[in-house]
């Protein structure tokens, strides 16, 4: 079996840039490739340029800088599933999907059969005959994903597909992505979820303020962080000033704690070598300072921290700066 990403890439962006008509720079000098059988995650906060990157790769605008090259083996357009897909509200989900597949050149009967099959795979089979205008946000997302996967495009561009998906929808997406990989297709998806990117993506790209900061495998990013355990402490009473709590308890100097920083909105993140040794001392300091604790979670490092380590900006805050 060909390893993911081997061979000529399905899509390759070179020095891709985009400036909105009002002068806002959305993307600058992005070099990124989507290989065969590969799922690439694009991680970044709101406003980091993820959606713009996906739209440019889909070829929806000719007003960009740089270039997007497509593999010669790729026929037809890449399929883009936007974060907020647009449908004809007065047509049924099945009619919408069938129409969009027919517009891509599929024969009517083939388009309808493919639409029905993929609607069923995304658990919309029973609702296929309902008007799309009556769908919930999550159902619209699933309809958009069903259309993208049913399109037969080898390259899929999925913009924040997890945003409105329930756990069942998430499982179906993972299964569909696995199927796409197996068929030699590729997907580039944007997400805010480091956990999903870590488990489902072959490579991850970090975007910040329209620039590509780093691209690598999730394992490589996590290895670079080291093996220190993370302790997340949720403060009770909705304390809005975790920095104050951090300083009041002197957690940075607590035994076994390597680093300590606030975690929005009301938490603390401690990096420790041995959670069993460091946690009791840290809790003792917090209680001693009169700071109540709501919950404690011990976990390994994640891609959110890798993003922080490389950009100096927390993933959950980067777009709000």
């Amino acid at each position: 079996m060909t390893p993911p990403g081997a061979g000529e890439p399905l899509l390759r962006a070179r020095r891709l840039g985009f400036t909105y008509p009002d002068g806002t720079i959305a993307l600058r000098d992005v070099d990124l490739a989507l290989g065969l059988g590969e799922v690439v995650g694009v991680l970044g906060a709101n406003g980091s340029g993820k959606s713009t990157l996906l739209r440019l790769l889909a070829g929806t605008s000719r007003r960009h800088e740089g270039s997007v090259a497509r593999s010669a083996s790729m026929t037809g357009e890449p399929a883009l599933a936007p974060d907020r897909p647009v449908f004809r509200a007065w047509l049924t989900g099945l009619d919408n999907a069938t129409a969009l597949l027919r517009l891509r050149g599929r024969r009517p009967a083939d388009a309808r059969a493919a639409a029905m099959a993929w609607l069923a795979r995304f658990d919309l089979g029973a609702d296929a005959g309902r008007r799309a205008g009556t769908y919930s946000r999550g159902m619209e997302t699933r309809l958009g994903l069903a259309v993208a996967f049913a399109s037969g495009a080898r390259a899929l561009l999925l913009d924040e597909p997890l945003a409105a998906l329930d756990p069942g929808g998430r499982e179906r997406l993972v299964s569909a992505l696995d199927g796409l990989r197996g068929e030699g297709g590729g997907a580039l998806l944007s997400t805010h979820d480091p956990g999903f990117a870590e488990t489902c993506c072959d490579r991850v790209a970090f975007l910040r303020h329209g620039r590509l900061v780093a691209v690598d495998t999730p394992a490589a990013f996590l290895d670079a962080l080291g093996q220190r355990t993370r302790i997340e402490v949720a403060l009770a009473g909705g304390r809005p000033y975790p920095q104050g709590a951090l300083e009041a308890a002197g957690l940075a100097a607590s035994p076994g704690v390597r680093t300590a920083r606030p975690l929005d909105p009301d938490g603390l993140l401690l990096e420790v070598d041995d959670a069993g040794a460091a946690l009791p001392a840290a809790l003792e300091r917090l209680f001693g300072a009169g700071i109540p604790v709501r919950a404690v979670r011990i976990r390994p490092p994640d891609l959110g921290e890798a993003y922080f380590a490389l950009t100096g900006t927390r993933l959950e805050r980067a777009g709000d700066e």
Binding site: S61, R88, R104
Partner: protein, 237 residues
């Protein structure tokens, strides 16, 4: 023919809107057709209504579809812009004819002209005028930034062409008469006057308006790849 299919499917899925589009022209124009109003005035009212019906009916939904991202969704499938324009204009023209059929029948039956004139209206001048109005509406939608601007531009362009077609007063000798001879709505005016039993002669060259209307529609189709970019993401409307 997917765009054609989609336009019909959409129209038939919205039955109440379809019924309104049949009822409103009938409610507005039947009293005019049944009244003792002078024939030239009736012709002017018919002309304005029929042309506005198709121009607004094309421009306003197109602006809305561009703003909400539907056209971007359609163009992302790789469908040809030219095919999209041609099929959309033909489908919407056919729908307009179906929706206007009752009121056009009333106009034909209450007119004092010959059955041949009514037949000419139904089969030639009206479809041609509605097709041109639909294409003009879509092109105008690409030039404006809002629904209000679409309505304003649609009204201004339509009234300008209706004026030069002689709907409001006969074209004066000289350059206005020359313009009128090429005006895409001239045939509609002549056909409506003949349905009303008027003595207005046909234009000097009855094919010129038809050639002009079809030439402009063809030009719009040939250049669709360029001006439909206004409908693409990002909307800088």
């Amino acid at each position: 023919m997917t765009v054609w299919w989609l336009a019909w499917r959409s129209a038939l899925a919205r039955r109440r809107l379809f019924a309104w589009n049949v009822a409103v022209p009938a409610l507005l124009l039947t009293p005019v057709a049944m009244s003792e109003t002078a024939a030239p005035h009736r012709v002017a009212v018919y002309g304005v209504f029929l042309v506005f019906f198709s121009t607004f009916g094309a421009a306003i939904p197109t602006v809305r579809d561009a703003r909400d991202g539907w056209l971007d969704t359609v163009f992302r499938t790789g469908v040809s812009r030219r095919a999209w324009l041609v099929q959309t204009a033909l489908a919407e023209t056919a729908l307009d004819i179906v929706e206007l059929a009752p009121v056009v029948a009333v106009i034909a039956l209450t007119g004092r002209g010959s059955p041949a004139a009514s037949l000419a209206l139904l089969t030639g001048a009206l479809p041609l005028a509605l097709l041109f109005a639909n294409v003009a509406g879509v092109v105008l939608a690409a030039l404006v930034r809002s629904l209000a601007e679409a309505a304003l531009a649609g009204a201004a362009v339509s009234l300008f062409l209706l004026h030069f077609a002689g709907f409001f007063r006969p074209a004066a000798p000289g350059w206005t008469r020359t313009v009128a001879a090429f005006d895409p709505y001239s045939l509609l005016r002549v056909a409506l006057e003949q349905v009303e039993g008027g003595s207005s002669p046909a234009t000097a060259h009855p094919w010129w308006p038809a050639v002009m209307a079809l030439s402009l529609a063809t030009l719009a189709a040939l250049t669709a790849g360029r001006w439909t970019r206004r409908f693409e993401w990002p909307a800088d409307r």
